[in-house]
């Protein structure tokens, strides 16, 4: 009896270990949210505790990705003058080749002559073939040894079952889905006619639990327990898109288990290998293959030596190849030189004394926009219209909420992925009961009609009837929608308005206790550095409306979880207009006095059509109506100006004769269901400025810079700066890395061209009919044809604050420190306009121009 209990304990412990190993292995896989919640993430987030170069190297071994531009591209940029020799020499000086023993370079190797030789080498060294993924699954190992196609076969089986299980919107749901992926698959796979009877027989003997199936498979494959994580990483990286979505579902919805997925793949592997082992060749391989070396082709993988860390070999040194610099070191230097050019130009352009001057004229209104780089262009345009002051703040306005729209559509988590919603806020009608009843009836009618149409389309018999009944009209309708998208849009909006008369609405703050409203108000105002108030303060969220675009959420507000920012702006405006809140923040330490005549108003900028809509117009008191009307006109003019500016960069956009034409053109793009380039989103992003607007006002930053307002004088305890550096900066770094890797490797960490995308519900898109779920951004978000529009540069954070405050925040936040120490982000700062910019390094602050002079 004691033995039985001990065996059970041992089995339970092995199950727990294998579960933990699977989750640890999954950390190298990105997180892929569904399309309707798409937010940018760093696909190498699991490697962020390493230096950027080491992380890229590790990911290259796992996925075969390119983490830099091709060397030929860097050389072309050098010959075009985009990378200048002075920056290249600076990069060499700050990243010198180490001595063969890994020590610092000898002074003889740091002369001008030696530097020139390295420049020559960078320009002429033989470029190696791009390396492919070196990590192999058991099946890939088998294929390499035996010439079989097991890996492809297993991938195809896995894709089919994942699509069936995860495609929750599919009309025909997978039978037995409630048993989980493994349970449903185990019950049904024995009926799979694509497998031979022998394989089905073997699969019918699988254990009931997925963890037991994984343990059995690992034992049959002869995998040592110390290599479980390696095997799991290899399996998960075989189809990174599906693995990434399963990881997200497992963490967020708990309706799928990573072990289920691994159990399915490894069970296929053992069964298919067993079937081949029946042959003479198979028997020969079995004797020497998995059960022999059990290397899985990963003997070169650094994590076999130390499962806790990936390789961190210094650049240069022993692996010099033909010259002094190996290929990895050359790419590191080229990238640093490319970034140096942009950064020097930006820092030189930022204001000196002007930055800290008091404003000369009181503004008529203050407009607070999201830090999103697209706001930079709009802010410039607004400021040009009159006496307007603009500020930048995270687009969820410090309000992490679950938003329940009045329409009854599903509630959404309107907050960054870094936090969970803290309150639920409902939109409510402010009109009469009769208006609300009419609205409800309209909604019910419209949704009933749409549901009926959807059901008819997706039910086999009814689809034919539907085609016969209304097919005659869909052809002309599709033609009208194609040739006149704006008219089509206007017509459908007209029909919608006739069918559903939307009443005036407001937000219900009952779900947020008064203490939390006070805290939210104080935090928001302090963090955005807003201490003096104009009569009108507009909180402007942003959204994007495009047609037939699975990536629409990627164009919306990242700080709002891929949703629209309007609801958050409405909630903060309501909080700041609340008399009780104003009275509370007027008292105590850090008192903030909002004048009685100041009105907070919400607005929303559509970044595709460049329209800015004032929200909750019913809340405008008569005292402010005239001013809001003037503002509306100015926002309209600013939108036209911004649209004209954007048209210069949009592919196929005509040169507008007038700003009105530009806006008409961008509106057409938004409504055109054939348009693959509705807007450029955040392409070009490269820097994040934390400081007063006066430092950047008047500069054309070409929508490349996140702008977060900050006034160090209002933040004596540094809490606001800590919030900015640990939240908005981190989200900006995710966005930066998403664009970076989608550009350097559009095939693995980008989703390829939109023209062949095939959506699976909201789960994701496939490139074509089958295959892996596509990760990252489509090619049309970063390039036109083969020409990159997004220049992949890592993020530069520019902070105007006392250096000791910045350093202290970095030091006490390990995740932030990893990002800065690992060169995912470079932080430069200065406290005073007379100071030089200083760069944060592990050793302390360094002169930004260090290494620039010899």
């Amino acid at each position: 009896m004691t033995t039985v209990v001990a065996e059970q304990h041992d089995l339970d412990a092995r199950r727990a270990r294998v579960r933990a190993e699977a989750v640890l292995a999954s950390r190298v896989v990105p997180v892929a949210r569904p399309l309707d919640e798409f937010v940018a993430v760093n696909p190498l987030a699991g490697f962020e505790d390493q230096a950027f170069g080491d992380a890229v190297h590790a990911a290259q071994e796992l996925y075969g990705i390119r983490g830099y531009l091709p060397e030929t591209s860097y050389r072309a940029l050098y010959h075009q003058g985009r990378i200048v020799e002075a920056d290249l020499r600076w990069a060499i000086r700050t990243r010198p080749p180490l001595e063969p023993d890994g020590s610092a370079p000898h002074p003889d190797r740091q002369t001008v002559g030696a530097e020139s030789a390295l420049v020559d080498e960078l320009l002429t060294a033989t470029i190696p073939e791009p390396a492919s993924r070196s990590v192999r699954t058991a099946a890939e190992h088998h294929d390499a040894a035996m010439g079989t196609d097991l890996a492809l076969e297993i991938d195809q089986h896995a894709i089919r079952w994942c699509a069936a299980y995860l495609g929750a919107e599919a009309e025909w749901r997978l039978p037995g889905r409630e048993a989980g992926l493994y349970g449903a698959w185990r019950d049904l796979v024995v009926l799979d006619p694509t497998l031979d009877p022998g394989a089905r027989r073997l699969l019918s003997r699988l254990p009931e639990r997925s963890d037991d199936a994984v343990l059995d498979a690992l034992e049959r494959l002869g995998v040592d327990p110390g290599q479980h994580r390696c095997v799991f990483r290899a399996e998960l990286s075989a189809l990174p898109g599906w693995a990434a979505h399963i990881r997200w579902r497992a963490e967020q919805h708990h309706d799928i288990d990573l072990l289920d997925y691994l159990a399915m793949r490894l069970s296929y592997t053992t069964v298919l290998v067993d079937r081949i082992s029946d042959t003479a060749a198979g028997r020969a391989w079995s004797a020497t293959g998995l059960g022999g070396s059990a290397s899985f082709g990963m003997s070169e993988a650094p994590w076999l030596d130390d499962p806790g860390r990936f390789g961190s070999a210094p650049t240069g040194g022993g692996d010099a190849g033909e010259g002094t610099l190996d290929a990895r070191h050359r790419l590191d230097i080229w990238q640093a030189a490319l970034e140096r050019g942009f950064r020097s130009q930006l820092l030189d352009s930022l204001g000196g004394r002007r930055s800290f001057e008091e404003r000369a004229v009181e503004p008529d209104a203050q407009i607070v926009c999201c830090i999103d780089v697209r706001s930079e262009g709009l802010r410039r345009a607004i400021e040009g219209q009159g006496r307007y002051e603009t500020l930048g703040f995270a687009g969820f306005f410090g309000v992490a909420i679950t938003w329940e729209p009045m329409s009854g559509g599903g509630a959404v988590a309107s907050c960054p992925a870094l936090v969970s919603p803290r309150h639920t806020v409902a939109e409510s009608a402010t009109g009469s009961v009769r208006e609300m009843q009419r609205y409800r009836r309209g909604l019910d009618g419209e949704s009933g009609a749409l549901d009926g149409l959807h059901d008819a389309k997706s039910t086999p018999g009814a689809a034919f009837v539907l085609a016969e009944a209304v097919g005659w009209i869909t052809g002309p309708a599709a033609a009208l929608r194609t040739v006149a998208p704006r008219r089509w849009s206007r017509a459908t909006r007209w029909v919608h308005r006739r069918a559903v008369a939307e009443p005036a609405s407001g937000v219900e703050l009952d779900g947020i206790p008064l203490t939390d409203r006070i805290l939210t108000a104080r935090t928001a105002l302090t963090t955005m550095g807003l201490g003096s108030f104009a009569p009108l303060v507009v909180l402007c969220g942003h959204t994007s409306s495009t047609a037939a675009n699975p990536y629409e959420a990627a164009l919306r507000c990242g700080a709002c979880g891929g949703h629209t920012g309007g609801p958050n702006a409405r909630v903060l405006a309501a909080i700041l207009n609340d008399a009780e809140v104003r009275e509370a923040i007027r008292r105590g330490v850090g008192a903030i006095e909002i004048p009685a005549g100041t009105l907070f108003l919400a607005a929303e900028h559509d970044t595709t059509s460049d329209t800015v809509r004032i929200l909750d117009p019913g809340s405008i008191p008569p005292t402010h109506r005239g001013q809001v009307d003037r503002l509306r006109g100015d926002l309209d003019a600013a939108g036209e100006q911004h649209a004209a500016e954007r048209c210069a960069d949009l592919p196929g956009a005509p040169e507008p004769r007038h700003r009105r034409h530009a806006r008409r053109h961008v509106a057409r793009r938004a409504n055109d269901w054939a348009e693959t380039f509705p807007e450029w989103g955040l392409a070009g992003n490269a820097a994040f400025v934390v400081g007063p607007r006066s430092m950047t006002s008047g500069l054309d930053l070409q929508r490349r810079v996140f702008l977060h307002s900050y006034d160090a004088a209002l933040d004596q305890d540094g809490l606001a700066l800590e919030t900015i550096l640990t939240a908005p900066l981190v989200v900006a770094q995710w966005i930066n890395c998403q664009y970076y890797f989608s550009s350097t490797d559009p095939d693995v960490f980008g989703s390829g061209t939109k023209t062949v995308h095939n959506a699976i519900g909201t789960v994701g898109v496939l490139a074509g009919r089958t295959g892996d779920l596509q990760l990252g951004l489509p090619r049309q978000s970063i390039a036109v044809g083969d020409q990159l529009v997004h220049e992949p540069l890592r993020l530069l954070a520019v902070v105007v604050a006392p250096l000791e405050r910045v350093a202290s925040i970095i030091d006490r936040n390990p995740s932030l420190r990893d990002l800065v120490a690992g060169e995912w982000i470079t932080v430069v700062a200065r406290a005073d306009p007379d100071d030089e910019w200083a760069t944060w390094t592990v050793q302390g602050w360094a002169d930004h121009d260090e290494g620039a002079r010899r």
Binding site: R15, G308, L418, L719, T723, P814, S815
Partner: protein, 108 residues
Amino acid sequence: MTYRDELAPMVRIEVVVNGDDVALVRDLLQASGVGGFTMVSGVAGLGHAGYHQGSLLFNEHASQALLLAVTPADRADALIAGVRTLLSERPGVMFVSDCYVGRPEYFA
């Protein structure tokens, strides 16, 4: 007679991990049959990797959390094995101690 004679022996397991590892610990708790736990998010302190800031306003992933579970000894081994595996790669600490509870059926 001591208080222990009237109480039921249990194992108390405390784990401090990064915010983004909490899901795994909860998963392990569930898989090990541990029915309940207590969590304190945003804990601060000094560890061998330096000072860890407490609660961050808008970043729940970067701060650390303390999870406390009490379980019968026969379920503790599996949970401990899983958490040790997690901590072989991730930052954090685990404390295991004996404890006594008055209502053992709450932890069954």
